[in-house]
């Protein structure tokens, strides 16, 4: 028992460190990718090619004056940034970065918590992150953040639905909510080949849930100045940022597990590279895809975003479920 707790704590620390590193260098990657896409260099001053930039950013944000809006609802105002970081950290526990490793004759499962309802847990926990944005928008007692908060509430509720519906197809094929089972199912063929529609719908919904461009309406800096975080500064602002990037990483990781075959190598002759490396590589590929999208497209309008969700994505995912259901029944021997 003591051994088990010790191992879990060590795993937690390692996972947390990986996530934070990923987040820190995610911000740098964002700026570098943006820079190179736009024919410039991005951060260059701190360290060779700006590799120390995340540290500099962190220090700067840490030492910045912490301004509290005078008319703010203090409790909620302080609560919101904290809430922004919690959901991705909670999801961290279920990410199946690999199956298991053997150290000194002992087999240690790699996921921190191998739970049977991992997918439901993921959906439940990520839907909490809307509270951070809504409360952040509300508590500042300012108009732009309020508009941002309102937008995010509507956006989250709609896209939560798409997210859930797109995963159902996968769950139907695998017959399990367990992420490790889902990854194991993909040993021979990745699920995004069997479920392309669900994959696209998942990615769109994930980007929308993360408030990333082109769906970054709650912050929309050219319309709502900064949206929900307009009234925040210093580390509170940084926490929102941290939450956003951590969410991106976690969403990419879950998508990797659900659709891209988790820790399995794309082809068998590449399987000498360990599973966790593959997992991180795939996660980074999806992360990069999100950056790439952001620097390519204009922003949708609020009503158009809702229209896209309810008029297109939800019917499409419902049809996907119907189709998957038919296939599953026919394969099982039919009616």
């Amino acid at each position: 028992m003591v051994m088990w707790i010790a191992v879990t704590v060590v795993k937690l620390l390692i996972y947390f460190a990986i996530l934070m590193l990923f987040v820190a260098y995610g911000t740098l990657a964002e700026r570098k990718v943006a820079g190179h896409i736009q024919d410039r260099l991005g951060p260059y001053h701190c360290g060779p090619h700006g590799v120390l930039q995340p540290l500099a950013d962190g220090l700067k944000l840490f030492f910045k004056e912490d301004i509290v809006a005078s008319e703010a609802d203090k409790f909620l105002y302080f609560l919101a940034p904290a809430l922004a970081v919690v959901p991705p950290l909670l999801v961290l526990g279920i990410i199946p970065i690999g199956e298991s490793i053997t150290i000194a004759g002992k087999t240690i499962p790699l996921p921190i918590a191998n739970i049977n309802v991992a997918v439901l847990y993921f959906l439940g926990v990520t839907s909490l992150s809307v509270y951070a944005i809504m409360l952040g928008g509300w508590s500042g007692n300012s108009k732009y953040p309020l508009l941002g908060g309102l937008r995010s509430a509507a956006q989250f509720i709609s896209y939560e639905l798409v997210l859930g519906l797109s995963i159902i197809g996968v769950v139907m094929l695998v017959g399990s909510f367990n992420l490790v089972d889902i990854v194991k199912y993909q040993k021979d063929m990745w699920l995004f080949i069997k479920q392309p529609v669900a994959f696209v719908a998942y990615m769109v919904a994930a980007i929308a849930e993360l408030n990333r461009a082109p769906f970054d309406l709650p912050e929309a800096e050219s319309e709502l100045v900064g949206g929900y975080h307009t009234e925040y500064s210093s580390m509170k602002f940084a926490l929102f940022f941290l939450g956003e990037y951590a969410n991106m990483v976690v969403s990419s990781a879950i998508a990797t597990a659900l659709f891209l075959g988790g820790w399995y190598a794309p082809c068998s002759f590449l399987s000498f590279i360990p599973g966790p490396v593959w997992f991180l590589l795939k996660t980074f590929a999806l992360f990069f895809f999100m950056l790439w999208i952001r620097w390519t497209y204009p922003r949708l309008r609020y009503d158009q975003l809702m229209g896209m969700c309810w008029k297109y994505l939800i019917p499409i995912t419902l049809f996907n479920i119907l189709g998957t259901g038919l296939v599953v029944i026919l394969k099982a021997g039919g009616v």
Binding site: Q38, D39, R40, L41, Y44, W292, T296, Y297
Partner: protein, 137 residues
């Protein structure tokens, strides 16, 4: 519907590997055109005499009233026409770098150079006097 969206992705991806268009400014300096209107210089002739003969045209033509000039009689070894500007001040808090002073000057005494790093940490330092303006030989 999807076609143009994919084309956009293609364009941005192709730029990812193109060389940057920007200049790493503090490390690399930009070459400016010879006609660049930068910091002023008061020219001196071959014998080291100031070319300026205090005619006051630059002061009169300046649209921003940035130039203050005051002159006195001077011996011939200091000026070939016997007049010299004792005070020549250009206030860079007012100057708009239009180049009219250079155009108005009948003797080519004041010119705008290609020097462009004019920022100062204190406002007072922006007042250019004869010491900072006079050409060094």
């Amino acid at each position: 519907m999807v076609g143009p969206l994919l084309k956009g992705l293609k364009i941005t991806f192709s730029h990812l590997f193109k060389p940057a268009f920007t200049v790493k400014y503090p490390y690399e300096k930009i070459e400016v055109a010879p006609r660049w209107r930068g910091k002023h210089v008061l020219r001196v002739d071959e014998e080291g005499r100031e070319k300026c003969c205090y005619c006051g045209l630059c002061e009169a033509v300046c649209p921003a009233n940035a130039i203050r000039i005051y002159g006195e009689e001077a011996p011939l070894e200091k000026s070939d026409v016997g007049k010299i500007a004792v005070i020549y001040e250009i206030d860079y808090r007012r100057c708009i770098f239009c180049g009219y002073c250079e155009e108005a000057c009948p003797r080519g005494a004041i010119e705008l150079t290609t020097f462009y790093e004019l920022a100062e940490p204190e406002r007072e330092k922006l007042l250019q006097t004869k010491e900072t303006l006079l050409e060094k030989r």
